[in-house]
Structures are given as structure tokens and as C-alpha cells.
């Protein structure tokens, strides 16, 4: 479909070796994730599943280039990751659309930053809005859209940069259950049409199993990868998958893995800077 995306298919191979991330400074510094060894082939849809505060979002932040590794290496297609780059697009739980720009201009933000002429970037933006099914909402402002539509626009404005990797940090976590299911199907539909590796962070087991080619289950902090579960369910996947006996069996296994050990209380959530919020549970 999208003409802009048809040239040589971007690769999107992720390799992490001995990765560890420390947050906080001085005596307060602590290791959020450690011993991460991970190879993700191009175009794979990987879900990072873990309890709250296990550092899965922190790991995603490192993939995006917003955080640096304390140890180990992190590379995309053989090139070390250093700083944010449009080839590694990220979608957060809360949309980051600019409320002062129309939906179309929001989608055209990336090309604008690269200096693509206005007519060209708006044409591109229309294509990607159509891709997420919002062609008729180009002239609206973000505040005029529902939560699900806002996240679809967010996905379009990341995809317009033709990322090799799409990073998603609980992107549907703030949506109601109904919209959430719908968005999962929208995402799979888009992904099958674009050559993009996806790393999707969630704490929802059903979501991880429904979406992924592979689920990485993380331990509580310091986060490590406990188990690497391949998912062989055929695509396209339908809603009835969630009642499939294999699905249910895997879900039980994930529940077991995620159950807190030794009766320890769950960890506090991490702020965007990685530090626990004072007073927040």
C-alpha cells in the first residue's frame, strides 16, 4: 500500500548482549534491569510482559535511545543505539499529540522536522491517516477525538517516519476494555502491511498472547527475562483465539511466572525517570 514505504524493506534486527540499566544517581542508583540477552529478528512482534515496576518500560526507553545502558551492548541492524532516532518510533500510554495542531499536521510532524516540503508531507500524512482508518478526521484537533482515535493518530505519526522498529509502551493501557480489543486488531492489521519489528510492553497477559509472535516474561526488579515463549498461533488471529486450549495453557503458565515470589509485596511503579513515585503504590 503506502508508496512511501515500499522501497527496500528496512530490516529491524535488535540485538542486546549483557544489557543492564541503572537509574538514579550516586548512592540512590539502582539496577532496574540486568543480564538482558536478546535477539529479535526483523519483523517480529515481541511482547514484553512483566509485573508493574519490573523495568520493562525502562528497557523500552533504552531501545528508543532515551536511556543509556550501564553495561552491555544494544544494536539495531548491527549499529549501536545512541540517542533517539525516527527509525525507532515510540508510542506511549498517554498520547503525545500536540493539541495546537490539527490531526493532519500532527501526523506530518516527523517529515516537517526533516524538512520535507509542506505539500509533500501533508500528502504523506493523509496516506498514513488512511492507513489507521482516520482519513476523515484530518482537519480535527486531537481534543475532538476519542482515546482510541488519538492512539491511532499517534501510531500514524510514528509510522510516517518509516521506523524499522515500533516501540509501544502499554499503548492501549488507558483505553476502555472494548476499545482496547478493537485497537489490538487494528494494530495487527496495520503491522501485517508494514515491514516493522514491534516491541510491545504490557502487563496484560491476554494482550501479549493475542498480539505477539513471542512473549518475553520479565521478573520483578531487577528485571531479567524469565522465559522466552514462542507463540505459534496462526495469523490473522480472531477473538476466539483467547478460548483456544493452547492459549489458555500458555496464559496459565504466564500467570504462574508473574505470581510474586516469597510473598514479597509488588514493586512500586516507576516514573518516566525510573524512580519510584513518592507515596504511589
Amino acid at each position: 500500500m503506502t508508496g512511501a514505504y515500499t522501497e527496500e524493506p528496512p530490516a529491524g534486527r535488535i540485538a542486546i548482549a549483557g544489557g543492564a540499566i541503572r537509574l538514579g544517581g550516586g548512592a540512590a542508583a539502582f539496577e532496574v534491569v540486568r543480564d538482558i540477552d536478546l535477539a529479535i529478528p526483523p519483523r517480529q512482534f515481541v511482547c514484553l510482559l512483566g509485573p508493574s515496576g519490573c523495568g520493562k518500560s525502562t528497557l523500552l526507553g533504552a531501545l528508543a535511545g532515551h536511556l543509556a545502558l550501564a553495561r552491555g551492548s544494544l544494536a539495531l541492524d548491527g549499529e549501536p543505539v545512541a540517542g533517539p532516532h525516527p527509525e525507532r518510533g515510540i508510542v506511549f500510554q498517554q498520547h503525545t499529540l500536540l493539541p495546537w495542531r490539527r490531526v493532519l499536521d500532527n501526523v506530518a510532524f516527523g517529515p516537517k522536522m526533516r524538512g520535507v516540503p509542506r505539500a509533500e508531507r501533508l500528502a504523506q500524512a493523509r496516506e498514513f491517516l488512511a492507513l489507521v482508518g482516520l482519513a476523515d478526521f484530518a482537519d480535527r484537533y486531537p481534543s475532538e477525538l476519542s482515546g482510541g482515535m488519538q492512539q491511532r493518530v499517534e501510531i500514524a505519526r510514528v509510522l510516517i517516519n518509516q521506523p524499522r522498529v515500533l516501540l509501544m509502551d502499554e499503548p492501549f493501557g488507558a483505553l476502555d476494555a472494548q476499545t482496547r480489543l478493537m485497537m489490538q486488531e487494528v494494530l495487527l492489521d496495520i503491522w501485517t502491511r508494514l515491514p516493522t519489528t514491534v516491541v510491545f510492553v504490557t502487563h496484560d497477559i491476554d494482550e501479549a498472547l493475542f498480539l505477539g509472535d513471542r512473549v518475553l516474561v520479565m521478573s520483578a526488579r531487577p528485571g531479567r527475562i524469565l522465559e522466552d515463549i514462542p507463540l505459534a498461533f496462526p495469523r490473522p488471529r480472531g477473538r476466539d483465539l483467547v478460548t483456544d486450549p493452547d492459549f489458555v495453557a500458555l496464559k496459565r503458565r504466564c500467570l504462574d511466572l508473574l505470581r510474586p515470589r516469597d510473598g514479597r509485596p509488588p514493586l512500586p511503579r516507576l516514573t518516566p525517570l525510573g524512580l519510584p513515585l513518592a507515596g504511589a503504590a
Partner: protein, 262 residues
């Protein structure tokens, strides 16, 4: 707009117009009843007559328009300069820790000093000409604009900045296209406050000698107990304040069209 919203809007404007009219009526009533001597509180009509006299014959040999323009020029230059510099510096302070550190102590030392307390110093440093008047107003506007822009620059969420950087925005572009617009609502509020303060300082600044300007007019009239002229001058300053505040508020609503819709 629904009928309900239209009714609410009409009610708003009726109240907004009735309130000053009521105050005016109260003023007229008090003076008509002879509850205050004209020297202390002249009647509205007497003030209007003095205003008319000044429009026709000027004040102390100078056109009323010249007085008004002299004041507007001082406030205008000081406001534009202070707003621009204060906003730029405030935005930078909000986002660059080193710049914030440089300006923190000096600006917080100066901010609590009442501008009137600086008048003798400014006379010593800059004389009694235009420079010290404009600089005194400039300083107040600058400090208010800076504090507000700084707070505004911090209103921008970390995720929004990270998302922009991940979409290819450079640091400068993220500042220009994300931080600045996020800060605009607070910047515009700061400018309204700063304009009000600027007019307050104007009258004081025109204490620094000179023979024109609304502040001069008010002070000169008061030293000759020409109370109706004092009131006329005050009314003019008030009207300028009202007009400039409404202008900035209107401009703000145009620029910050998304506010309150998130």
C-alpha cells in the same frame, strides 16, 4: 452554540456591563447627596467636564494626546522589551539547568524589591530622562514575564519531549515546536499581569521629573488640589489598562485556541 450556552453568555455580558454602571451610579449618588466634599471626591460630571477641558485645551500647555502618547510610548517600549527578553530567558531557564542556575539568585534578589524603592537609584544611574522611566517599567515586566515563561516551559511533559525527539526533532526543534507552544497559556497570563503592573509603575516612574505623561498629569494636578483633573487622569489610565488587558486576553484566546479543550 446551544440555547443554554447563549443564555449564559448573555447573562455574563449583562453582569459585566451592569457592574461598572452600578459603581458609577453609586459614585454619582454619594456626591449628589453631598456625602463627600468635591475636593476629596468630585462628582462624575465634574470629572467629565475636566476631561472635556483637557481634550479641548490640553493640560499645562501640552495637548492631552501628547500626554497620553508619551505614557503609551514609555509603557509600550518597556512592555515589548521586557516581555520579549523575560519570556525568552524564562523559557531557557525552564529547560536548561545551567541557565537557570546563572539567573536564579540575581533575579530572586531583585524580584522582591518594590520598584518604587529603586527610583532614587535609577535617578542616580540613568538620570531623570526617558531612560530611567522606561527601565523601571521594563524591569517589572521582565521579571513577571520570566517567572511565568519558566513555569510554562516546565508544563511540557517528558513523554511529549521524548516522542518529539524520537520523531526526529533536534533539541532546538523540540524546544521550538513542543516546549514553546506548551508554555504559551502561562506566558499569555503572565503578559496580562505584567501589563497591569506596567501601568502601575508608569505613574510612579513619571514621578522622575518630566513635564508630560499621564502620571505627570495626575501628580501635578494633585499638588495643586485639582482633584477633578486627578480623577480624569486616573480614569484615562484605567481605560488604557482595560483596553490593553482585553486586547492581550483576546490575542491570548486566538493564539492559545486549544486551552481548556484537552
Amino acid at each position: 452554540m446551544s440555547a443554554n450556552a447563549a443564555a449564559a453568555r448573555r447573562r455574563y455580558w449583562i453582569l459585566a456591563v451592569l457592574s461598572p454602571l452600578t459603581l458609577l451610579a453609586l459614585w454619582a449618588l454619594v456626591t449628589a447627596q453631598g456625602l463627600a466634599t468635591p475636593m476629596i471626591l468630585p462628582s462624575p460630571l465634574a470629572v467629565l467636564a475636566s476631561l472635556g477641558d483637557m481634550v479641548g485645551h490640553g493640560y499645562s500647555g501640552v495637548d492631552l494626546a501628547t500626554h497620553v502618547l508619551a505614557s503609551l510610548r514609555r509603557v509600550g517600549i518597556a512592555f515589548c522589551g521586557g516581555a520579549l527578553l523575560g519570556t525568552v530567558l524564562g523559557l531557557l531557564r525552564g529547560r536548561v539547568a545551567e541557565i537557570d542556575a546563572l539567573f536564579l539568585v540575581p533575579s530572586e534578589l531583585v524580584r522582591p524589591i518594590p520598584p518604587l524603592g529603586l527610583i532614587p537609584l535609577f535617578i542616580l544611574w540613568f538620570g531623570i530622562g526617558e531612560a530611567s522611566k522606561i527601565l523601571l517599567i521594563f524591569l517589572s515586566v521582565f521579571l513577571i514575564a520570566m517567572v511565568n515563561a519558566q513555569a510554562g516551559a516546565r508544563a511540557c511533559s517528558l513523554d511529549a519531549l521524548r516522542a518529539a525527539r524520537s520523531m526526529g526533532a533536534s533539541r532546538v526543534q523540540a524546544f521550538r515546536f513542543v516546549v514553546l507552544p506548551s508554555a504559551l497559556p502561562q506566558i499569555m497570563t503572565g503578559l496580562r499581569v505584567a501589563m497591569g503592573t506596567a501601568l502601575t509603575i508608569l505613574v510612579a516612574a513619571e514621578l522622575l521629573g518630566g513635564d508630560r505623561g499621564l502620571g505627570f498629569l495626575i501628580l501635578d494636578a494633585s499638588s495643586f488640589f485639582r482633584t477633578t483633573y486627578v480623577f480624569a487622569g486616573i480614569v484615562l489610565v484605567g481605560l488604557i489598562g482595560l483596553a490593553s488587558d482585553r486586547a492581550i486576553a483576546l490575542l491570548g484566546r486566538r493564539i492559545v485556541h486549544w486551552e481548556g479543550k484537552r
